[in-house]
Structure formats: structure tokens, C-alpha cells
């Protein structure tokens, strides 16, 4: 028996064990988690198991001419199973009160903003701040965060990642076209002005970063600002104050925080929140003074304002195309989450000392609206 054949038998056992655990847990779950578990089981786990069974039965499995293709096939399935075990299975096996509250919040946010798909499930088990698993329809949240309203507008950013992934032709393709348009012109201008080759190479490196990672983060920020309104801008200042090292430098897949703050500000202006955008910018300037950081030379070459403006236009247009509601359209009052998160920031900024009691009351009202104890 070949290595690949044995690997497939091992994978078949893993699929079967995960499915056994899944079937024990699924009936005990709260309704929203049960729906999620049923969907992922049918859509991914059952299909992965059937795929492995099919591969094991393929008459050409032992033929060396096909071995490479079968191995590549195996790799994708084993990666999927690993992700399910570490993501969805973990989420449903330990689905607790804080996971439930976060999931119902996201479900409510999805309804308010017109998110055109079933809302993802949340798991408050993250050690990496908020993050989304787009393939598993999961959002991971730090375990202490679900009841802290000041940071919860990050949910809009994570929801935006799902939208960017699933509607990439509406969101990312136009953004990519804008990026190429901008950098084609920038490189042409640079050559006409006689720039040295190293600077032109730098422009091309920025184009690559934009197209590879940055457009996704900027896009998600802009969708979040469009839907959550000023609360997202305030939360961004708070987050950057807490975790940023250099506000003008990118980190790994993320563009510089200062450029992201500008992107959020442009969208807030665009949706009619100019006053709040100016207040958020004033607070951002205060953060810059606190950190004694200044915009470095070359920053505008990496993050040109005209490109950010075009990106904002393109993202807002895509939001409208997929039917998302802007902040001003969702702002209705009562226990609506978008309204509550913005009210939380208004309250915190006006009365920081007594905010804690206000937040406890607001969380209690949300729990009551979700019929949670």
C-alpha cells in the first residue's frame, strides 16, 4: 500500500471521528449554533468525508501517473479537516453564554446592516484579538470582549471580510482596477520626472502590497465605517492607542494605522458624519502627540490620498450594490446594536467615569432583547 493510500485511510478516520463528536454535540446546541453546526456538517464535513471515500475507491489511486494530482487533492481535504477540527468543532464543543451573546449580537448587526447572508457564528476563544475564518463562517473574539461595547464595532470589520471574500467581484475587482490605474500613472509620471530606478521599484512594491493585502484591510475598514458609523472610528483610535507600535508603519499583512484612520475618516465624511469625523481626527491628532510620532518621508507615496479617496468611492458604491445599509439608515434607537454601540461611545466620551454602569445597563438591555439570562 502506498504512502498516499495510508494517508487517506488516516484522513478517513479523522473525518469519521470528527463527525461522531459533531453528532453528539449538535443536538445539545442553542438554535443559532445548531443551525451553524448543521450547515457546516452538510456543507463541509460530510462532503470532505465523501470526497475521501471517493479518492480511496478511485481505480487510478495506485497509478503513479496520477499520484501527484491525487496528493494535491488530498492536501486540500486534509487542510479543510484540520481547519474544521481547530475552528468549527472547537466553537460548537464549547459554546457558552459569551459565545451566544456575541453570536446573537452579530446576527442582529447582520439584520440591521442588510448583510445578505446568514450571519457567522462567534466563538469567544481568541488569543489574536478579533478575527474571521471566512471559509468556516466563524468569527473569533477575545473571551473578555463580548460585553465591552467600546470594541464591538470590530464585528462590522470582520463581517466585511466575509463580504469582500464572497462578493469579491463587486468589492475587490474594482478596487484592484483603481490601484493599477493609480500606480500605472504614478510610475509613468515618475519616469517622466527622471526618478531613479530604486524609487520606481518602491512604487511597484507598494502596488504589490496594496493588491496583495492592503486593499482587503482598507476595504473591510471602509465597509465597517459605512455600516457602523462613528463608533468604528472611535474604536479604531482606541485599538491603535492600545496595540500600535508605529502608527505610520505597516505590520505584516496590515497597512499603516495612520492610513487606515484616514480611510475611515473619508468614508465617515462621505456618509454624512463630517462632525464626528472631525472629532475622531482631533482625537487621532492627540494620540500622535502622545506617541510623539510624525508622518515619515515617503508615507504619501505608499498611501496616496487620491487613491484612498477612489477606494472609498468604490467601496461605498459596492456597499450600495450588495444592499448594505449605511449607518444613518440603521440608526433607529431602542436596542438596535448599531445605535447602542454609537451611544456607548457618546456616553463614554461625555462621562467616562460613570460609563461602566451605563454599559452594564446597556448590555442587560441587549441580553433582555435577545432573551438571554
Amino acid at each position: 500500500m502506498s504512502l498516499l493510500h495510508r494517508l487517506l485511510i488516516d484522513l478517513q478516520r479523522r473525518c469519521s471521528e470528527s463527525l461522531d463528536t459533531w453528532k453528539k454535540v449538535e443536538p445539545t446546541l442553542a438554535p443559532e449554533a445548531k443551525r451553524y453546526a448543521e450547515n457546516i456538517r452538510q456543507k463541509l464535513l460530510d462532503r470532505a468525508g465523501a470526497h475521501v471515500d471517493r479518492l480511496l475507491k478511485d481505480p487510478d489511486l495506485a497509478d503513479p501517473q496520477f499520484a501527484r494530482s491525487f496528493y494535491i487533492d488530498y492536501k486540500r481535504v486534509v487542510e479543510l479537516i484540520q481547519q474544521i477540527e481547530e475552528g468549527s468543532l472547537l466553537a460548537i464543543c464549547r459554546y457558552r453564554a459569551e459565545d451566544r451573546f456575541a453570536s446573537l449580537l452579530v446576527d442582529q448587526i447582520a439584520t440591521e446592516i442588510g448583510y445578505p447572508k446568514p450571519a457567522p457564528l462567534c466563538s469567544a476563544t481568541s488569543t489574536q484579538y478579533f478575527f474571521a475564518h471566512t471559509g468556516l463562517d466563524l468569527i473569533f473574539v477575545p473571551c473578555a470582549e463580548p460585553y465591552r461595547l467600546l470594541g464591538l464595532s470590530d464585528f462590522y470589520h470582520e463581517l466585511a471580510h466575509f463580504l469582500l471574500f464572497r462578493f469579491s467581484s463587486k468589492f475587490l475587482a474594482p478596487i484592484e482596477a483603481e490601484i493599477d490605474l493609480y500606480f500605472d500613472q504614478a510610475v509613468k509620471d515618475a519616469r517622466q520626472k527622471g526618478w531613479v530606478q530604486t524609487l520606481i521599484d518602491e512604487l511597484e512594491a507598494y502596488r504589490k502590497s496594496w493588491k496583495r493585502d492592503w486593499m482587503i484591510e482598507f476595504g473591510a475598514d471602509m465597509v465597517a465605517a459605512y455600516c457602523a458609523g462613528p463608533a468604528y472610528g472611535w474604536a479604531n483610535v482606541r485599538l491603535c492607542s492600545n496595540v500600535s507600535a508605529d502608527l505610520f508603519a505597516g505590520a505584516s499583512t496590515h497597512p499603516a494605522d495612520a492610513a487606515r484612520a484616514t480611510g475611515i475618516e473619508i468614508v465617515l465624511h462621505g456618509i454624512g458624519c463630517a462632525t464626528e469625523a472631525a472629532e475622531i481626527d482631533a482625537e487621532w491628532q492627540e494620540l500622535l502627540r502622545l506617541t510623539a510620532q510624525m508622518k515619515p518621508q515617503g508615507f504619501d507615496m505608499a498611501y496616496p490620498q487620491p487613491l484612498l479617496n477612489r477606494l472609498a468611492d468604490s467601496t461605498v458604491a459596492a456597499c450600495k450594490t450588495v444592499g448594505l445599509n449605511s449607518y444613518l439608515r440603521t440608526r433607529r434607537g431602542g436596542v438596535d446594536v448599531t445605535f447602542t454601540l454609537n451611544e456607548a461611545w457618546r456616553e463614554f466620551r461625555a462621562k467616562a467615569n460613570s460609563y461602566s454602569a451605563w454599559e452594564q445597563n446597556a448590555v442587560a438591555q441587549l441580553k433582555s432583547a435577545f432573551q438571554l439570562p
Partner: protein, 138 residues
């Protein structure tokens, strides 16, 4: 808002691309070696899908191909192909365009065409695997 979301997005895109390419290549290989567990419809679909993809790759690498924007090819896949063919990129572009034309016309899939198809599948697989590793070993 951590890197994980972007890495997850990247992985899903590259894995889906690699899976689609590999399935098409496997179908065409089976057709090439006369296997009967692939239907004529599946073979036709695989031919069309790979012809479109090869044209898109060729266009992205600078060749004059039929369609430039029909398929989104992950940039890392293109980078891997460019890195591998740095010294003979124009020949590789010709191979892509010729293989795409042969697939489109329904010509027999010879060893040369198969080699080109496997190269694309290998680059897509390497990209997905690297992306998965980045996602798990931050």
C-alpha cells in the same frame, strides 16, 4: 482585525483556485490516458476552464493572449511561475498560449501540454500550501 483574517481570506482564495485547477488537470490526465471514469462533458468543461485560465496566466505574464481578465489568478501563483521561468519567460508564455489554443480546439493532449498543465497545478498547490502554513504558524 488581526492578521489571521487576511491570512484566512488569502488561504480560502488560493485553496479554492488550487482545487479547481487540480480537478481540471486530473480530468484531462484521465482523458489523456484513456480512462473511462470521466465523462465527455467533464472533459469539455475541464478543457474550457483550463484554456481560459492559461490565457489569463499568459496575459498576466505579459503575453498577447485571447482574454486577460476572465479569471482571477492569485498573484503568488504568478510570482512562482515567473520565478521558475525567469530566464525563459517568453518561451513559457508561448507554451501557455499554445496549450490554451490546443485545449480550446479539442486537439489531443500531448506530453508537452500535460507538462504545462501540471506546472500551473503545482504552482497553485504550492501557493495554497504556503498560505495554509502562514495561517497556522504566525
Amino acid at each position: 482585525m488581526s492578521d489571521t483574517t487576511t491570512l484566512s481570506h488569502e488561504y480560502e482564495t488560493s485553496a479554492s483556485f488550487a482545487e479547481t485547477v487540480n480537478q481540471a488537470v486530473l480530468t484531462l490526465k484521465k482523458a489523456r490516458f484513456g480512462r473511462r471514469d470521466v465523462s465527455p462533458t467533464e472533459v469539455t468543461e475541464a478543457r474550457t476552464a483550463m484554456a481560459t485560465l492559461l490565457d489569463a496566466v499568459a496575459a498576466s505574464l505579459g503575453a498577447a493572449a485571447r482574454s486577460a481578465k476572465a479569471v482571477q489568478v492569485p498573484s503568488e501563483v504568478l510570482e512562482r511561475l515567473v520565478a521558475k521561468h525567469t530566464n525563459r519567460l517568453s518561451y513559457f508564455q508561448d507554451d501557455l498560449v499554445q496549450t490554451a489554443a490546443a485545449l480550446q480546439k479539442g486537439s489531443a493532449i500531448d506530453d508537452e501540454a500535460l507538462k504545462v498543465l501540471e506546472e500551473i497545478s503545482d504552482a497553485a498547490d504550492a501557493t495554497a500550501s504556503a498560505s495554509f502554513r502562514r495561517l497556522r504558524r504566525r
